[in-house]
């Protein structure tokens, strides 16, 4: 059994088939890249997996549990975190406050606890340190640069100790230095056991990071394999150049 199994998922908006019987599996402990031309359905697939959209057909299974029609909150609770193509943080809260939104512990006590207590802050601080924005702890999130917001969004997910993280174009709009730094962080987290599924246009980023690459085209899986296999596949090139 794979960690995440997507089977025959379809989704249409109006008459347009964003996903057409798409199937994909993500193995435990892997870093899977998801590439494909614009409009091939990558973000829609992310939305379906994480519960932001309901598929018209097909199933999504996570750790053996059917999550096809679960809501985003339940899926997040099961240990699947995601980031968005356009960063979604809470702009009017400070960086530290943003870090405390995601649920780490359940129960009323956790909810009524004062997050400003030192031990509550310590863990968040460590993670901010890890992604490299700990100097911005008390700044309002809206004052961060685009790249810093991406890192914050990433850290916000990590605080909930997810098993799998879905990143939607993590390197988009991020300067090369930060992107390299991000690659390192993802590798470190992967070693500690977190599985990644990454949508990315930056081929260099994908090829250097992923151990498996899946290519989407017109809402379905075109091919998958190691970065080398995918790179050498003429069908992939045709998908990007064609139409």
């Amino acid at each position: 059994m794979s960690l995440l199994e997507i089977h025959g998922v379809s989704k249409a908006f109006g008459g347009i088939h964003a996903l057409d019987a798409c199937s994909l599996t993500v193995e435990q402990g892997s870093i899977t890249g998801l590439i494909g031309p614009n409009g091939s359905g990558k973000t829609t697939l992310f939305n379906v997996i994480t519960g932001y959209e309901r598929p018209d057909a097909g199933t999504v299974t996570f750790k053996g549990t059917d999550i096809t029609n679960a809501n985003p909150s339940a899926i997040f609770g099961l240990g699947m975190g995601r980031t968005f193509q356009l960063v979604r943080i809470f702009p009017r809260l400070t960086v530290m406050e943003n870090m405390h939104i995601a649920v780490q512990r359940r129960g009323l006590r956790a909810l009524l606890s004062r997050w400003t207590a030192p031990h509550e802050r310590a863990h968040a601080q460590e993670l901010l340190d890890f992604v490299g924005i700990s100097h911005l702890t008390d700044a309002p999130a809206e004052n961060l640069s685009y790249g810093q917001k991406r890192l914050l969004e990433f850290a916000m997910i990590l605080i909930a100790l997810p098993e799998v993280v879905l990143l939607d174009e993590p390197a988009g709009g991020v300067n090369p230095t930060l992107a390299t730094q991000l690659t390192e962080r993802i590798k470190m987290l992967n070693k500690s056991g977190i599985t990644f599924l990454i949508v990315e246009h930056n081929m260099q980023f994908v090829m250097s990071l992923c151990d498996k690459v899946a290519v989407m085209h017109r809402g379905a899986l075109l091919t998958e394999g190691t970065p080398e296999q995918v790179r050498g596949n003429p069908a992939v090139l045709e998908a990007y150049l064609g139409d």
């Binding site: 985003p72 997040f76 405390h100 909810l111 004062r114």
Partner: protein, 343 residues
């Protein structure tokens, strides 16, 4: 985030000093007219603080808090009259009961109205006020309709007849402030603020948005209901059009915006300014001028100072300190999470 000891002391000292002044005020100034205004100010400050607990934190602008004000007032009055209770200190014990009844009403109304967002939510909350005003007029068998309900006289000695109202209302305000402050510094408060910024994203991060909003709505209604009961007892009579008054909702919202929504001190500052103005106009001007003043103030605040007086002043203060080289970086001093909210 380490703060120097004296700045932390100042943060505790200011509210304490204000509390001491508030407690001492009626003992020093025993003019009934001024004590009267002081009680009304406390009433409005409590309402604006209660409004802030829901709307200020979640960003859902509720224009229907008057519903719970009126419901609290009617619950209090009907129990008093039907049980033939006599005036005195005992009636103050009914105030939290009235608050609870208002909170119970807030459960179904909140549940229905919070299914909508943005514009629709605002409009629905405003509509609820009218529904209840209509009910209060029309259910004559229960509410006596437009004849109103008269409450028993308190029977306090004339020397300090207003003092019990003043101190009970002050206690309600302090309690509302403490609850508001506690929520703001808890993870639950962060959840509410996250809902304000991006509700869908918050939900995706495991925030139980529906339950969080409804809880805040009910807490707010509880306090508003208590204030409604206090108002009924203090004024001595209630009528549908005065306790289910849509303009009251608007006044509360303006007070909160005037001071600054989402802050603790904002609603109090707003209530002080507006209540003073209201008194001035009711004594010195004919009908209409107060509405013009209120409307113009609305326009000025919304268009020029949407952040409210407290935040705008604290920004000016910070800028001044930075210019003098006394403060740290403007970012650090302006956004210490709790410090700023305390204003």
């Amino acid at each position: 985030m380490k703060q120097p000891l004296n700045s932390r002391l100042i943060k505790i000292a200011w509210p304490l000093l204000l509390l001491v002044v508030a407690v001492a005020f009626p003992l020093i100034d025993n003019s009934p007219a001024e004590q009267n205004v002081a009680i009304l100010t406390l009433i409005f400050a409590s309402l604006a603080t209660a409004w802030n607990i829901f709307s200020g934190y979640t960003g859902y602008i509720a224009l229907g808090q008057t519903t719970y004000f009126g419901f609290g007032a009617y619950a209090f009055s009907l129990i008093t009259v039907n049980q033939h209770l006599s005036g005195g200190f005992g009636l103050f014990l009914l105030v939290p009961v009235a608050g609870l009844i208002a909170a119970l009403l807030a459960i179904p109304i909140g549940w229905i109205s919070l299914r909508t967002r943005g514009h629709a939510f605002v409009v629905i909350t405003l509509v609820t006020v009218f529904i209840f005003q209509l009910l209060a007029f029309n259910l004559r068998g229960i509410t006596l309709g437009s004849a109103g309900i008269f409450l028993p006289a308190p029977g306090f000695p004339i020397d300090w007849i207003l003092l019990p109202y003043y101190y009970v209302q002050l206690a309600i305000l302090v309690l509302a402030l403490l609850v508001s402050w506690y929520i703001r510094s808890s993870r639950y408060g962060l959840w509410l603020l996250a809902i304000r910024d991006d509700e869908d994203r918050a939900e995706g991060l495991g925030v139980r948005t529906g339950a969080s909003k409804l809880t805040a709505f009910i807490i707010s209604a509880f306090f508003v209901g208590m204030v409604g009961a206090m108002y009924a007892y203090f004024i001595g009579s209630i009528y549908p059009q005065y306790v289910f008054d849509p303009a009251l909702s608007i006044t509360i919202v303006l007070m909160a915006f005037l001071g600054g929504i989402g802050t603790l001190s904002g609603p109090i500052v707003g209530a002080l300014i507006l209540e003073t103005a209201q008194q001035y106009f009711s004594m010195n001007a004919q009908t209409g001028y107060y509405q013009i003043f209120l409307g113009a103030l609305f326009l000025i605040i919304m268009l020029l100072l949407p952040q409210g007086i407290v935040r705008s002043l604290s920004r000016v203060w910070t800028a001044w300190r930075v210019r003098r080289g006394a403060g740290g970086s403007p970012v650090a001093s302006e956004h210490q999470p709790v410090a700023v909210e305390k204003g």
